[in-house]
């Protein structure tokens, strides 16, 4: 039941925010803050009182075990049930959702002044949908939440976004985002149905259940097609390079809270989907596809980093760095060793913090300068109180400075993948160099260089300080002492690794790449 409440609380909170607007503008903000605090508190409670070291595979190699599970029949006609389950991976990501949800509410405290109630309705419904995605292990339910969270995100960008120049309107960006993700989502639906009917042909019963569908025997060709359906849906959201077109526009046009959610958790739903569904359901096909996926990851690392170097818009720059970082995540997932998979989780968490930090910084810059164009900035160091300092910290985190969680994540992925695909790792490491270049370019153009004016801007207020300090603290905490996080997700990642590794001899893959 707790799991159901984790999903319901944001939805109910959202409705309360909408109606709470009657009691003044502050009411929805406090309700939203309280709601997300509640979600975070429940998740942390589950973290402290749950046991996440369970053997995920019993000796016979059957029966996936969950720390918590909740199931009730939903559409018996197709064997669909509301089946929620929690393991270390989903727990970490839900905690992340709760935390970033709080940040999203806080960072829009002064930014959003119109239609406050409706804004928070959309914000909380996105978060509720994301929590649903992380908990659902019935494929229909998963798809349900996967598609559902697009609608409030659409409204968030379309109604409260910034209009860019040259026809880059916010509505256009929002529509692009929606069509990309929805159309690719339908491909996933086709794949899910293909899997279900394959299972129906085998067992004679409809089922959308994760554990049942994992047992479906598939021919190689069919498995490959179905896996591609899942992969494309996740690849659009991650995003993987040829399918990334929506991301820079959506980020640039979204309000700060939208960007924080988008970079911090919506992109993570894709990585989660690959780890939870694409790999375990189709291990053989994924193995066969791994070289292509890693190639796409490499492409993403370089493409994102190179384009980031050439951006004038601060938020677009950060958006492209996300593409670059997600390239590492993709390589880590398809390398499939335990170390690499743990690195993926680490990098996902770290990137959520650093990207959220950078987006909040750019939001705060925008509130003060009313521009995100880096050509109009410059020489801000010393004129903005402590904001440039925090920028420097998050930029350093984003480029993977030792001591930050990002460093650990990237290194674990690279070390984990090296025994399998040394050349991919060698090439990917080159991306770290580009990361340093675009990060320094960002600092140079925004905070150093010739100043564009002399006036001083307001220093951070208490709310902004709190956000920045918490994020800084968390990046350092997980950078210096990552063990609690790794312990929590260890069992879940080990299971993915066993499924992935168990099917085909990895040496053949390694040879294929050499």
């Amino acid at each position: 039941m707790t799991l159901l409440w984790l999903i319901l609380i944001p939805f109910i909170g959202g409705l309360l925010c909408w109606q709470g607007e009657r009691f003044g503008e502050q009411a929805p903000r406090w309700i939203a803050l309280g709601t997300m605090l509640m979600v975070l508190a429940i998740t942390l409670g589950l973290w402290f009182y749950g046991d996440y070291h369970l053997p995920s595979l019993d000796p016979q190699g059957e029966a996936v075990r969950w720390t918590m599970e909740w199931q009730v029949a939903w559409i018996p006609r197709f064997g669909i049930s509301i089946h929620l389950a929690l393991d270390g991976l989903s727990l970490v990501l839900i905690a992340l959702t709760g935390f970033l949800g709080i940040l999203a509410v806080l960072c829009s405290w002064h930014e959003i002044v119109h239609r406050v109630g409706f804004f928070h309705l959309n914000l909380l419904w996105i978060l509720g949908g994301v929590v649903g995605v992380f908990l659902a292990i019935d494929l229909f339910l998963f798809f349900f939440f996967w598609e559902m969270m697009l609608v409030p995100m659409y409204f968030l960008i379309a109604l409260w976004g910034h209009s860019g120049s040259k026809g880059r309107t916010r509505i256009r960006a929002a529509t692009k985002f929606f069509i990309y993700t929805q159309a690719s989502g339908l491909l996933m639906l086709v794949s899910i149905l293909g899997l279900v009917f394959a299972n129906l042909a085998h067992t004679g019963e409809y089922s959308f259940d994760y554990a049942t569908l994992m047992q479906t025997p598939l021919s190689d060709g069919l498995a490959m097609w179905l896996m591609l359906g899942f992969f494309i849906a996740f690849a659009v959201k991650l995003p993987v390079v040829p399918l990334h077109g929506w991301l820079p526009d959506a980020h640039a046009q979204a309000p700060t809270a939208g960007s924080v959610d988008l970079a911090g958790i919506l992109l993570k739903t894709a990585a989660y989907g690959m780890l939870r569904f694409a790999l375990p359901l189709f291990p053989e096909a994924s193995q066969a596809f791994a070289p292509v996926a890693m190639g796409l990851g490499l492409l993403g690392i370089y493409y994102g980093a190179l384009l980031a170097c050439g951006q004038q818009d601060l938020k677009r720059l950060i958006a492209y760095t996300s593409i670059s970082h997600m390239g590492f995540v993709l390589i880590g997932i398809y390398a499939g060793t335990e170390l690499a998979l743990q690195g993926v989780v680490m990098l996902m968490v770290a990137h959520a913090f650093s990207a959220a930090g950078l987006f909040i910084v750019s939001g705060q810059l925008y509130e003060r300068l009313h521009t995100r164009d880096m050509r109009e900035m410059g020489g801000l160091w010393g004129r903005l109180g402590s904001l440039p300092g925090f920028s420097l910290f998050f930029v350093a985190a984003s480029l993977g400075m030792p001591g930050t969680a990002n460093f650990l994540g990237e290194m674990m992925i690279l070390f984990g993948a090296f025994p399998l695909v040394p050349w991919v790792v060698v090439l990917a490491s080159g991306g770290l160099l580009l990361a340093a270049i675009y990060s320094l370019l960002l600092m140079q153009r925004v905070h150093f260089g010739p100043p564009q004016g002399k006036e001083h801007f307001a220093d951070l207020d208490r709310r902004e300080y709190l956000m920045m300090l918490t994020l800084t603290g968390l990046v350092l905490l997980f950078g210096l002492y990552p063990q609690p996080l790794l312990d929590t997700t260890g069992a879940a990642m080990l299971e993915v690794q066993q499924l992935f590794e168990g099917v085909a001899p990895l040496s053949s893959l390694a040879k294929g790449n050499q």
């Binding site: 939903w74 559409i75 018996p76 006609r77 197709f78 119109h114 229909f140 798809f143 349900f144 939440f145 598609e147 559902m148 697009l150 609608v151 659409y154 409204f155 379309a158 109604l159 509505i171 929002a174 529509t175 929606f178 069509i179 929805q182 159309a183 339908l186 491909l187 639906l189 086709v190 149905l193 293909g194 279900v196 009917f197």
Partner: protein
């Protein structure tokens, strides 16, 4: 074959609607009273709806001309619901209409009876009778506000084109009769089994064209946007819901019975038409600036999705079409209902141009919420019934391995999103929008308001908990005497 009391009882819903039509006609002749006529209409339709429950026990039952089986009961339920909704909407719409208001309900009742006959027909004679009884009053309903140029144009356009389609249909029937000498579906099926000759194929093709016109299947879709745009709100609503449901059900019955459509080149033609309908409907909707035209094109696209069920015709097909029809009906009633309410009470052309709806949310939050839910459902987004419908159609395509059709549905949905989203975001924009027409402040209290609110709730409930709907459609599908 003798008609017994059981048969009369089984035909009770149709008889009740006809009786109501008579009462309304006589009532108008005696004394005009708008609200009283509307109340009598609602009472008659509700009685007919209730009598369906009694008839449910008798099904399946076949008379020489009509079949009272799961399929016809299903269609009758939907048609009566649509008629009730249109009555409620019509009452609000016609409140300030200059000129006779009461005849609208008379036409509506006749069309309803026609639709029910059509959906139950198992004989070409009843098929033709039902179709004409459905279409004739619709001409009048579409041209009801005939002082409006567009309304008159819509009525006449529909009349002329529909007459041409009817002629095609009749010619097809004649060819089939010449070849087989039978007019009942069962006899036709038996005679056509084996290898159908050229004339039967031509006849079946012509019939398909005639019925395809009513469903506005590409390439017979040209009338749809103009007629939807010009017709008064409640009439367009009836045309988009009850009329289409009835024609689709009879087509489904024909497909299930007659193997002519199941194989050979007619089947190929049907598949191509389905894909074309999805794509053309969605593509043409992209540039529309008029909400009623846009909904017209979107309904073309939706019947493209539905044709998938006819093309496949096995496995989940009947269940999928049933679910999709329920979903389509609720959604279309909600969407057209909002347009009608915004245009009510009638004074001049309907408010259908998109900029009338700009920022509607900030003036009419609940009404806009209804329209948003309807648009999301049309787009097939989870949490709405539309998603369940789309899920069924895709499941059907995947089950049968018809990847072209599945591809068409996906491409169509992706294109469709673009214009649904455009309308949706317009509702929430605040920029200095001129408003020419707005819903009356007490719309929520009126019968039409309750209908659209109810439909929105139904869409959401069926989207979240579709199990009862699936059980119902499944139970009805079992008793279909195909």
């Amino acid at each position: 074959m003798m008609l017994t009391t059981t048969h009369l009882l089984a035909l009770m819903p149709i008889l009740l609607v006809c009786a109501t039509a008579l009462v309304v006609m006589l009532g108008i002749a005696w004394q005009r009273h708008h609200t009283a006529v509307a109340v009598v209409t609602v009472a008659g339709l509700s009685l007919a709806l209730l009598s369906l429950i009694a008839v449910w026990g008798l099904a399946p039952l076949a008379t020489p001309m009509l079949a009272i089986d799961g399929l016809s009961l299903f269609a009758a339920t939907l048609i009566l619901m649509a008629a009730l909704a249109c009555t409620a909407l019509g009452h609000a719409y016609l409140a300030h209409h200059q000129g006779p208001r009461e005849e609208f309900y008379l036409l509506l009742l006749c069309a309803t009876a026609g639709g029910m006959v059509l959906a139950a027909s198992t004989h070409l004679a009843t098929l033709f009778l039902g179709l004409e009884l459905l279409s004739m009053p619709l001409y009048g309903m579409l041209a009801y506000t005939y002082r409006e140029r567009r309304s008159l144009e819509a009525g006449i356009k529909y009349l002329v084109l529909s007459a041409a389609a009817t002629a095609t249909l009749l010619f097809g029937m004649a060819l089939l009769y010449a070849e087989t000498g039978r007019l009942d579906f069962a006899g036709l099926t038996a005679s056509l089994a084996g290898s159908p000759g050229v004339w039967s194929l031509a006849g079946a093709g012509l019939m398909l064209a005639g019925l395809g016109f009513k469903l506005s299947v590409v390439p017979f879709h040209l009338w749809t946007p103009d007629v939807y745009e010009g017709g008064p709100g409640p009439a367009a609503t009836f045309l988009a819901t009850a009329s289409k449901v009835a024609v689709f059900v009879v087509l489904l019955r024909l497909m299930l019975a007659a193997p002519v459509f199941g194989e050979g080149w007619l089947h190929g033609v049907l598949a191509v038409m389905a894909v074309l309908t999805m794509l053309v409907g969605n593509l043409l909707a992209l540039t529309q600036a008029n909400l009623k035209r846009l909904l017209g094109y979107s309904s073309i696209a939706h019947f493209g999705y539905l044709l998938t069920a006819l093309v496949i015709g096995e496995g989940l097909a009947v269940e999928a079409s049933g679910i999709y029809l329920v979903v389509y009906l609720c959604t279309t009633l909600a969407a057209f209902g909002v347009v009608t309410l915004v245009s009510s009470p009638y004074h001049g052309e309907d408010a259908a141009v998109l900029h009338h709806y700009r920022g509607l949310f900030w003036r009419r939050p609940y009404l806009t919420a209804v329209l948003t839910v309807a648009l999301l459902s049309l787009a097939g987004i989870p949490f709405t019934a539309g998603f369940i419908g789309k899920f069924y159609i895709i499941a059907l395509g995947v089950e049968a391995g018809r990847w072209w059709l599945v591809g068409g549905v996906i491409a169509g949905s992706a294109i469709g999103l673009f214009y649904y989203l455009r309308v949706m975001v317009t509702l929430y924009l605040t920029e200095a929008g001129m408003q020419r027409r707005d819903a009356p402040a007490n719309w929520g209290m009126s019968a039409g308001g309750i209908v659209v609110l109810g439909m929105a709730v139904l869409i959401v409930v069926l989207g979240i908990y579709p199990a009862p709907m699936i059980d119902w459609v499944q139970a009805l599908g079992m008793t279909a005497t195909g």
